[in-house]
Symmetry: C2
Subunit: 164 residues, 2 copies
Protein backbone atom coordinates (compact mmCIF):
# COMPACT_ATOMS: atom_id res chain seq x y z
CA UNK A 1 0.00 0.00 0.00
CA UNK A 2 1.67 3.19 -1.18
CA UNK A 3 -0.70 6.12 -0.61
CA UNK A 4 -2.29 7.16 2.68
CA UNK A 5 -3.99 10.44 3.49
CA UNK A 6 -0.65 12.01 4.42
CA UNK A 7 0.69 11.39 0.92
CA UNK A 8 -1.83 13.80 -0.61
CA UNK A 9 -0.13 17.10 0.13
CA UNK A 10 -1.74 20.14 -1.43
CA UNK A 11 -0.22 20.87 -4.82
CA UNK A 12 1.19 17.39 -5.35
CA UNK A 13 0.75 16.30 -8.97
CA UNK A 14 0.20 12.70 -9.99
CA UNK A 15 0.79 11.94 -13.66
CA UNK A 16 -1.59 9.10 -14.47
CA UNK A 17 -0.38 8.10 -17.94
CA UNK A 18 -2.40 7.91 -21.09
CA UNK A 19 -4.85 5.84 -23.09
CA UNK A 20 -5.98 5.71 -26.70
CA UNK A 21 -9.65 6.06 -27.61
CA UNK A 22 -10.90 4.09 -30.61
CA UNK A 23 -14.04 4.64 -32.66
CA UNK A 24 -15.13 1.13 -31.79
CA UNK A 25 -14.92 1.83 -28.05
CA UNK A 26 -16.67 5.21 -28.38
CA UNK A 27 -19.59 3.62 -30.20
CA UNK A 28 -19.78 0.58 -27.90
CA UNK A 29 -19.78 2.65 -24.70
CA UNK A 30 -22.35 5.11 -26.00
CA UNK A 31 -24.59 2.36 -27.36
CA UNK A 32 -24.77 0.98 -23.84
CA UNK A 33 -24.97 4.17 -21.82
CA UNK A 34 -25.40 7.37 -23.86
CA UNK A 35 -27.05 6.49 -27.18
CA UNK A 36 -27.14 9.90 -28.82
CA UNK A 37 -26.43 9.87 -32.58
CA UNK A 38 -23.29 12.00 -32.38
CA UNK A 39 -21.81 9.29 -30.10
CA UNK A 40 -23.08 6.18 -31.91
CA UNK A 41 -23.63 6.90 -35.61
CA UNK A 42 -20.78 8.06 -37.79
CA UNK A 43 -23.05 9.38 -40.55
CA UNK A 44 -25.42 11.25 -38.25
CA UNK A 45 -22.45 12.60 -36.30
CA UNK A 46 -20.93 14.07 -39.45
CA UNK A 47 -24.11 16.11 -39.89
CA UNK A 48 -24.18 17.25 -36.26
CA UNK A 49 -22.66 20.39 -34.80
CA UNK A 50 -19.62 18.28 -33.88
CA UNK A 51 -18.81 17.35 -37.48
CA UNK A 52 -18.09 13.73 -36.57
CA UNK A 53 -18.24 11.15 -33.82
CA UNK A 54 -17.30 12.29 -30.34
CA UNK A 55 -17.04 10.30 -27.12
CA UNK A 56 -19.75 10.54 -24.48
CA UNK A 57 -18.66 12.73 -21.60
CA UNK A 58 -19.51 9.82 -19.33
CA UNK A 59 -17.06 7.71 -21.31
CA UNK A 60 -14.32 10.30 -20.98
CA UNK A 61 -14.93 10.39 -17.24
CA UNK A 62 -14.79 6.57 -17.12
CA UNK A 63 -11.48 6.51 -19.00
CA UNK A 64 -10.08 9.00 -16.51
CA UNK A 65 -11.28 6.87 -13.62
CA UNK A 66 -9.47 3.81 -14.97
CA UNK A 67 -6.19 5.73 -15.14
CA UNK A 68 -6.81 7.19 -11.67
CA UNK A 69 -7.44 3.74 -10.20
CA UNK A 70 -4.42 2.24 -11.96
CA UNK A 71 -2.13 5.10 -10.94
CA UNK A 72 -3.32 6.07 -7.47
CA UNK A 73 -6.52 4.66 -5.99
CA UNK A 74 -5.70 1.01 -6.57
CA UNK A 75 -2.54 1.34 -4.51
CA UNK A 76 -4.02 3.53 -1.80
CA UNK A 77 -5.86 3.32 1.51
CA UNK A 78 -8.99 4.53 -0.29
CA UNK A 79 -12.29 4.44 1.56
CA UNK A 80 -14.39 5.39 -1.44
CA UNK A 81 -15.64 8.67 -2.84
CA UNK A 82 -18.61 10.75 -1.71
CA UNK A 83 -18.83 12.53 -5.05
CA UNK A 84 -17.54 14.73 -7.83
CA UNK A 85 -17.99 18.46 -8.51
CA UNK A 86 -17.69 20.75 -11.52
CA UNK A 87 -17.27 18.19 -14.26
CA UNK A 88 -16.68 19.99 -17.57
CA UNK A 89 -15.89 18.89 -21.12
CA UNK A 90 -14.34 21.97 -22.76
CA UNK A 91 -13.42 20.16 -26.00
CA UNK A 92 -14.63 16.96 -27.66
CA UNK A 93 -12.84 13.60 -27.60
CA UNK A 94 -12.66 12.05 -31.08
CA UNK A 95 -11.76 8.60 -32.43
CA UNK A 96 -8.00 8.13 -32.49
CA UNK A 97 -7.33 10.62 -29.72
CA UNK A 98 -4.89 9.75 -26.96
CA UNK A 99 -5.80 11.13 -23.55
CA UNK A 100 -3.27 12.01 -20.88
CA UNK A 101 -4.58 12.22 -17.32
CA UNK A 102 -3.34 14.18 -14.33
CA UNK A 103 -4.48 14.51 -10.71
CA UNK A 104 -3.48 17.53 -8.62
CA UNK A 105 -4.25 17.70 -4.90
CA UNK A 106 -6.34 20.79 -4.24
CA UNK A 107 -7.22 20.36 -0.56
CA UNK A 108 -6.74 17.85 2.22
CA UNK A 109 -8.25 17.83 5.71
CA UNK A 110 -8.99 15.40 8.48
CA UNK A 111 -12.52 14.06 8.74
CA UNK A 112 -14.39 15.56 11.67
CA UNK A 113 -16.58 12.53 12.25
CA UNK A 114 -13.91 9.91 11.51
CA UNK A 115 -10.53 11.02 12.87
CA UNK A 116 -8.83 7.99 11.34
CA UNK A 117 -9.75 9.24 7.86
CA UNK A 118 -8.86 12.26 5.76
CA UNK A 119 -10.77 13.95 2.94
CA UNK A 120 -8.87 14.86 -0.19
CA UNK A 121 -10.16 16.95 -3.08
CA UNK A 122 -8.20 16.74 -6.31
CA UNK A 123 -8.40 18.49 -9.65
CA UNK A 124 -8.70 15.82 -12.31
CA UNK A 125 -7.81 16.79 -15.84
CA UNK A 126 -7.40 15.04 -19.16
CA UNK A 127 -5.87 16.46 -22.30
CA UNK A 128 -5.54 15.10 -25.82
CA UNK A 129 -2.41 14.52 -27.90
CA UNK A 130 -2.41 18.20 -28.91
CA UNK A 131 -2.42 19.41 -25.33
CA UNK A 132 -6.06 20.50 -25.46
CA UNK A 133 -7.94 19.95 -22.20
CA UNK A 134 -10.96 17.73 -22.83
CA UNK A 135 -12.18 17.21 -19.28
CA UNK A 136 -11.78 18.67 -15.81
CA UNK A 137 -13.49 17.73 -12.56
CA UNK A 138 -13.02 18.00 -8.84
CA UNK A 139 -12.94 14.55 -7.22
CA UNK A 140 -13.49 13.95 -3.51
CA UNK A 141 -11.86 10.90 -1.92
CA UNK A 142 -11.50 9.46 1.55
CA UNK A 143 -8.25 7.89 2.66
CA UNK A 144 -7.18 6.22 5.88
CA UNK A 145 -4.57 8.17 7.81
CA UNK A 146 -1.27 6.38 8.15
CA UNK A 147 -1.24 6.23 11.96
CA UNK A 148 -4.65 4.56 11.96
CA UNK A 149 -3.55 1.92 9.50
CA UNK A 150 -0.39 1.28 11.50
CA UNK A 151 -2.31 1.09 14.78
CA UNK A 152 -4.62 -1.43 13.22
CA UNK A 153 -1.88 -3.43 11.61
CA UNK A 154 -4.15 -3.34 8.60
CA UNK A 155 -6.41 -0.90 6.79
CA UNK A 156 -9.14 0.45 8.97
CA UNK A 157 -12.52 -0.69 7.71
CA UNK A 158 -14.93 0.76 10.24
CA UNK A 159 -18.06 0.38 8.15
CA UNK A 160 -20.15 2.75 6.09
CA UNK A 161 -20.64 6.28 7.36
CA UNK A 162 -21.41 9.78 6.18
CA UNK A 163 -17.94 11.14 6.89
CA UNK A 164 -18.28 14.74 5.74
CA UNK B 1 -38.93 16.09 -31.92
CA UNK B 2 -40.79 16.56 -28.64
CA UNK B 3 -38.69 18.71 -26.30
CA UNK B 4 -37.34 22.17 -27.02
CA UNK B 5 -35.96 24.69 -24.53
CA UNK B 6 -39.45 26.02 -23.83
CA UNK B 7 -40.56 22.58 -22.62
CA UNK B 8 -38.19 22.68 -19.66
CA UNK B 9 -40.18 24.85 -17.30
CA UNK B 10 -38.75 25.19 -13.81
CA UNK B 11 -40.17 22.51 -11.53
CA UNK B 12 -41.27 20.18 -14.30
CA UNK B 13 -40.57 16.56 -13.37
CA UNK B 14 -39.67 13.90 -15.92
CA UNK B 15 -40.03 10.32 -14.72
CA UNK B 16 -37.38 8.38 -16.64
CA UNK B 17 -38.34 4.81 -15.79
CA UNK B 18 -36.16 2.16 -14.25
CA UNK B 19 -33.46 -0.40 -14.90
CA UNK B 20 -32.16 -3.48 -13.11
CA UNK B 21 -28.48 -3.78 -12.18
CA UNK B 22 -26.94 -7.25 -12.27
CA UNK B 23 -23.76 -8.47 -10.60
CA UNK B 24 -22.42 -9.40 -14.02
CA UNK B 25 -22.88 -5.86 -15.33
CA UNK B 26 -21.41 -4.29 -12.18
CA UNK B 27 -18.27 -6.40 -12.48
CA UNK B 28 -17.95 -5.95 -16.25
CA UNK B 29 -18.28 -2.17 -16.10
CA UNK B 30 -15.85 -1.82 -13.21
CA UNK B 31 -13.33 -4.19 -14.76
CA UNK B 32 -13.20 -1.86 -17.74
CA UNK B 33 -13.37 1.51 -16.02
CA UNK B 34 -13.10 1.41 -12.22
CA UNK B 35 -11.22 -1.75 -11.21
CA UNK B 36 -11.35 -1.43 -7.43
CA UNK B 37 -11.85 -4.73 -5.58
CA UNK B 38 -15.17 -3.73 -4.00
CA UNK B 39 -16.52 -3.27 -7.55
CA UNK B 40 -14.93 -6.29 -9.24
CA UNK B 41 -14.25 -9.07 -6.72
CA UNK B 42 -17.09 -10.58 -4.72
CA UNK B 43 -14.81 -12.09 -2.07
CA UNK B 44 -12.71 -8.98 -1.54
CA UNK B 45 -15.88 -6.88 -1.51
CA UNK B 46 -17.36 -8.98 1.29
CA UNK B 47 -14.34 -8.04 3.42
CA UNK B 48 -14.53 -4.34 2.55
CA UNK B 49 -16.38 -1.62 4.42
CA UNK B 50 -19.27 -2.14 1.99
CA UNK B 51 -19.83 -5.77 2.99
CA UNK B 52 -20.30 -6.89 -0.62
CA UNK B 53 -20.07 -5.82 -4.23
CA UNK B 54 -21.26 -2.33 -5.07
CA UNK B 55 -21.51 -0.59 -8.43
CA UNK B 56 -18.96 2.00 -9.45
CA UNK B 57 -20.36 5.50 -9.09
CA UNK B 58 -19.39 6.05 -12.71
CA UNK B 59 -21.55 3.07 -13.61
CA UNK B 60 -24.53 4.45 -11.68
CA UNK B 61 -24.09 7.74 -13.51
CA UNK B 62 -23.91 5.91 -16.85
CA UNK B 63 -27.12 3.99 -16.09
CA UNK B 64 -28.83 7.27 -15.28
CA UNK B 65 -27.60 8.77 -18.54
CA UNK B 66 -29.09 5.92 -20.55
CA UNK B 67 -32.50 6.48 -18.96
CA UNK B 68 -32.17 10.24 -19.46
CA UNK B 69 -31.33 9.81 -23.15
CA UNK B 70 -34.13 7.30 -23.68
CA UNK B 71 -36.69 9.42 -21.84
CA UNK B 72 -35.74 13.01 -22.74
CA UNK B 73 -32.51 13.83 -24.54
CA UNK B 74 -33.00 11.41 -27.43
CA UNK B 75 -36.28 13.09 -28.34
CA UNK B 76 -35.11 16.66 -27.76
CA UNK B 77 -33.42 19.53 -29.54
CA UNK B 78 -30.32 18.86 -27.45
CA UNK B 79 -27.13 20.69 -28.31
CA UNK B 80 -24.96 18.77 -25.87
CA UNK B 81 -23.91 19.33 -22.28
CA UNK B 82 -21.18 21.58 -20.93
CA UNK B 83 -20.96 19.62 -17.69
CA UNK B 84 -22.30 18.24 -14.44
CA UNK B 85 -22.12 19.57 -10.88
CA UNK B 86 -22.46 18.14 -7.39
CA UNK B 87 -22.54 14.45 -8.22
CA UNK B 88 -23.13 12.46 -5.01
CA UNK B 89 -23.65 8.80 -4.18
CA UNK B 90 -25.36 8.81 -0.77
CA UNK B 91 -25.96 5.04 -0.72
CA UNK B 92 -24.42 2.10 -2.56
CA UNK B 93 -25.93 0.29 -5.55
CA UNK B 94 -25.81 -3.48 -5.12
CA UNK B 95 -26.36 -6.46 -7.43
CA UNK B 96 -30.07 -7.07 -7.98
CA UNK B 97 -31.08 -3.48 -7.29
CA UNK B 98 -33.56 -1.76 -9.56
CA UNK B 99 -32.94 1.95 -10.07
CA UNK B 100 -35.64 4.48 -10.80
CA UNK B 101 -34.54 7.75 -12.37
CA UNK B 102 -36.06 11.20 -12.27
CA UNK B 103 -35.13 14.59 -13.77
CA UNK B 104 -36.48 17.83 -12.30
CA UNK B 105 -35.90 21.16 -14.02
CA UNK B 106 -34.11 23.48 -11.61
CA UNK B 107 -33.36 26.49 -13.80
CA UNK B 108 -33.76 27.58 -17.40
CA UNK B 109 -32.43 30.69 -19.14
CA UNK B 110 -31.59 31.90 -22.60
CA UNK B 111 -28.00 31.73 -23.74
CA UNK B 112 -26.39 35.16 -23.84
CA UNK B 113 -23.99 34.30 -26.64
CA UNK B 114 -26.41 32.13 -28.64
CA UNK B 115 -29.92 33.58 -28.53
CA UNK B 116 -31.30 30.58 -30.43
CA UNK B 117 -30.31 28.31 -27.53
CA UNK B 118 -31.35 27.96 -23.91
CA UNK B 119 -29.47 26.56 -20.94
CA UNK B 120 -31.28 24.17 -18.64
CA UNK B 121 -30.05 22.85 -15.31
CA UNK B 122 -31.82 19.79 -13.94
CA UNK B 123 -31.62 17.83 -10.72
CA UNK B 124 -30.96 14.21 -11.65
CA UNK B 125 -31.76 11.59 -9.05
CA UNK B 126 -31.86 7.82 -8.88
CA UNK B 127 -33.36 5.72 -6.14
CA UNK B 128 -33.41 1.99 -5.52
CA UNK B 129 -36.38 -0.36 -5.09
CA UNK B 130 -36.64 0.64 -1.42
CA UNK B 131 -36.90 4.33 -2.21
CA UNK B 132 -33.36 5.06 -1.04
CA UNK B 133 -31.61 7.74 -3.08
CA UNK B 134 -28.37 6.32 -4.53
CA UNK B 135 -27.29 9.23 -6.74
CA UNK B 136 -27.97 12.92 -7.26
CA UNK B 137 -26.35 15.37 -9.64
CA UNK B 138 -27.01 18.66 -11.35
CA UNK B 139 -26.89 18.30 -15.13
CA UNK B 140 -26.47 21.23 -17.50
CA UNK B 141 -27.91 20.91 -21.01
CA UNK B 142 -28.29 23.15 -24.03
CA UNK B 143 -31.46 23.03 -26.11
CA UNK B 144 -32.53 24.87 -29.24
CA UNK B 145 -35.39 27.31 -28.68
CA UNK B 146 -38.54 26.42 -30.55
CA UNK B 147 -38.71 29.60 -32.62
CA UNK B 148 -35.18 29.02 -33.90
CA UNK B 149 -35.94 25.46 -34.94
CA UNK B 150 -39.11 26.60 -36.68
CA UNK B 151 -37.33 29.44 -38.45
CA UNK B 152 -34.76 27.03 -39.70
CA UNK B 153 -37.26 24.40 -40.72
CA UNK B 154 -34.85 22.04 -39.00
CA UNK B 155 -32.74 21.91 -35.86
CA UNK B 156 -30.25 24.72 -35.70
CA UNK B 157 -26.71 23.36 -35.88
CA UNK B 158 -24.57 26.46 -35.80
CA UNK B 159 -21.33 24.72 -34.88
CA UNK B 160 -19.36 24.34 -31.70
CA UNK B 161 -19.20 27.29 -29.35
CA UNK B 162 -18.69 28.13 -25.71
CA UNK B 163 -22.31 29.09 -25.08
CA UNK B 164 -22.19 29.97 -21.39
Amino acid sequence: MTFYFEDFSVGRVFELGQCAVSEEEIVAFATGYDPQPFHTDRVAAADSMFGGLIASGVHTMALYMRLFVEGVLGDSASQGSPGIDEMRWPAPVRPGDTLRARYTVASARKSRSRPEWGIVTGLASAENQEGVTVMTMSVINLFTRRYAAEADGRLASPGPVAPL
